[in-house]
Subunit: 434 residues, 2 copies
């Protein structure tokens, strides 16, 4: 099940792997102490990029789908972690209401919901699914390939509680990143546990906040391991609110692209890396209707924006003004993992503080610098082998699948920890408890 | 890896399996609520007997060896559970001192120690081994078959702390059931976490206390599931202190054997079970130098005792007066699990509240009612398949390996929960916190 990966087997990444393996007890204790002070997200997935010379998280998802892509052997770990999570947050929980995203026409997504329902059922909860769609008036049965059908029911909102007909949950699990905005039906639920909280959704999140906090953690973590934090930390430049339809907006974006490219080129030179540096521009607020744009030179920015403007006019998306708003520039991290000739992007899944599995997004058609999780991206999931969960001490650096996955799990947990800091920083109720 | 088991596939056990599977969320929540009030033992293993018509724990070990018998696929679960356990008890822990039993000449036991050290190392602790043997003056290297050698070091006791040369642990993990008595070197360690506590050792434990508490739990649990608690609960009769070298002592023991046999026969009749009831007599304090004796009729007791007396005189064991002390009589539970013609006794391993694996003790030579864990018992371990951790809802009762193991895990956790109550009841410091 584990793909044979053709990666750069020389250079700093092997030193990183070696250092991470040698430091296993130190690393695990470091995380343990962090979790004494901070609460992990209920569940998360982190996209990791392995350039061969550096390793970095590029996206931390707080409403992960794709649980069906994990191998069945990983299920016991997910169930055990779910038990631990529920026990801490709401030990008396009996009924769990799972609120999916709008993708319920997608059979892969339905398999994901089945898997999630199974995990929480085995962890000791009665699980039912409630739809945010106002169009759903009666329960519907949704066929799941190779499994029992799922029943999706209309939500019922009372003054203080959300539920279904004859189903009053103590816990509501969102599997919906709220990128379409926070539905009123989910607001002011103070009697029930809403997991993750609403401020984990994209209406509140900003890539810039996440990666600023990630950078702080990466610096501290790199210090513990005695290494350069750049090896695990992509250079970033937040742009704030920009209007890319104006020359001033374009110039501001170009300046930030330049900052990132200059930093990256300097590091490439320092490490003797013979690659062309690139930057990725995206909306800071997670909006996916514009970008991400890959740029190797700041002077290419106006052409990309112009093209987007044209495309937007053609599709009418301009009405949502995707070119006006917060933007974010990040160092592009090459993905040098290959299965035969196909790019393989590792994704690590976590429940509470525990790494419970992962898989490779394998896509033969895409170049190594492109986002693989964009709209319409199709991929073949290749589950990590379950024995990959634990490092093999003593194996040659770069040669051991389990060791590589352990390293991915460490970096993914750093990303998750950054999300934990982020949720604290953006918690609208934080001052109440201070 | 999972043996094909020839068991009685009809009768109440299938109804029990069915009921347990249907009640998964209820059962998991029931345990979750119990763990809100009670602390699980740090680690434990429970021997389970499946008679085909009833299922019961027969021994709960609080210092389990044999971790090497679990399949490597179970290691991630054990590590994750160890992380959860450490995080709750001593999150700041850095160094763990593992104190083995005296069996360090046994290579199987050394493999067990290796596995334990590996689990806690991967959970984020520096692990070293300290010997209780006063003869050990210098560190020794012990060869472990198929693995790196272990170093066993002499313990160093300060006024308030126990450690090794240049190694000051915050946590001490005993893998020694203290059946030889509590060594003074382990007493009055109030600055370090001693896991499990000294009163988990046999100098304090009594089978009768454990099974009295188990019975209470089995009754409550059976009520939740709407079934007869006898199906998971072996009838017991504590005898208190007896002198079996006197007629009065013998008569008292016979009376208790009669109580157990009468109860068991009545139940066999009620369920139409065509087997001969039997009882097991053992020392209540875990001493293994006498018994266990299997009896089908109370009148056979004097002959068994006389034979033991003769054997004791021959070996000189009489000096330790094994026939004077606390005794315990328990309903014998048939083991009807077979791999081909060999008896297969399931053992379930737990770390903190989590079932992390198990194996079958397979022994071709022993009859179905004999203890398989006695002195000198040799067995072939057959690890449960890791996919056995999660029930397969919908499979035909009695036909699914995973479902059977899930049921074993439930009953084993009931045994572990009884041990948790037991440790509370026998805690010498309990009144301090009351």
């Amino acid at each position: 099940m584990v793909p044979h990966l053709v990666t750069a087997l020389n250079g700093p990444i092997n030193e990183l792997e070696q250092r991470i393996l040698e430091s296993t007890p130190v690393i695990e204790r470091w995380f343990r102490l962090e979790w004494m002070e901070h609460t992990p997200p209920f569940y998360s997935s982190v996209d990791v990029r392995n350039a061969g010379f550096k390793l970095a998280p590029v996206d931390t998802c707080l409403f992960p789908g794709g649980w069906n892509n994990l191998s069945p052997e990983m299920l016991p770990l997910a169930v055990q972690a779910a038990m631990a999570a529920i026990e801490k947050i709401c030990p008396e929980a009996k009924n769990l209401l799972l609120v999916p995203s709008a993708q319920t026409h997608n059979t892969f997504y339905l398999s994901n919901l089945s898997r999630l329902a199974q995990i929480f059922n085995l962890a000791g909860l009665n699980v039912r699914l409630g739809s945010l769609s106002a169009d759903l008036k009666e329960p519907v049965q949704l066929e799941v390939p190779g499994g029992a059908p799922l029943t999706l029911e209309p939500l019922q909102r009372g003054k203080r509680r959300l539920g279904l007909k004859h189903f009053d949950p103590c816990t509501i699990l969102l599997n919906n990143d709220l990128s379409a905005g926070v539905p009123g039906i989910l607001e002011d639920l103070h009697e029930q546990y809403l997991l993750p909280p609403l401020h984990a959704g994209w209406p509140t999140r900003r890539h810039s906040t996440h990666f600023r906090l990630y950078e702080e953690l990466a610096k501290r973590f790199a210090k513990v391991l005695g290494m350069d934090h750049w090896l695990i930390n992509p250079a970033c430049a937040p742009c704030g609110e920009l209007d890319l339809t104006t020359p001033a907006g374009l110039a501001a974006l170009q300046a930030q692209v330049d900052v990132v490219l200059t930093k990256t080129r300097r590091k490439y030179k320092e490490y003797g890396i013979n690659e062309k540096a690139f930057a990725v521009i995206k909306r800071d607020d997670g909006r996916a209707d514009v970008g991400p744009w890959v740029v190797r030179d700041a002077k290419d920015v106006p052409a990309l924006v112009a093209a987007a403007q044209l495309a937007g006019q053609a599709t009418g998306a301009a009405a949502r003004q995707p070119l006006q708003g917060p933007f974010f520039v990040q160092e592009g991290v090459l993905n040098n993992e290959r299965i035969n000739d196909a790019v393989a992007e590792p994704v690590v899944y976590m429940m509470d503080r525990y790494v419970v599995g992962g898989f490779y997004r394998v896509h033969a058609d895409q170049a190594d610098h492109q986002g693989m999780n964009g709209p319409g991206a199709s991929f073949l999931p290749l589950a990590f082998d379950q024995s990959n969960h634990l490092p093999q001490l003593g194996a040659r650096p770069g040669a051991s699948g389990p060791n590589r996955f352990y390293m991915y799990g460490v970096i993914a947990r750093l990303g998750m920890l950054a999300a934990s800091y982020e949720l604290e920083a953006t918690d609208p109720d934080a001052e109440i408890y201070d």
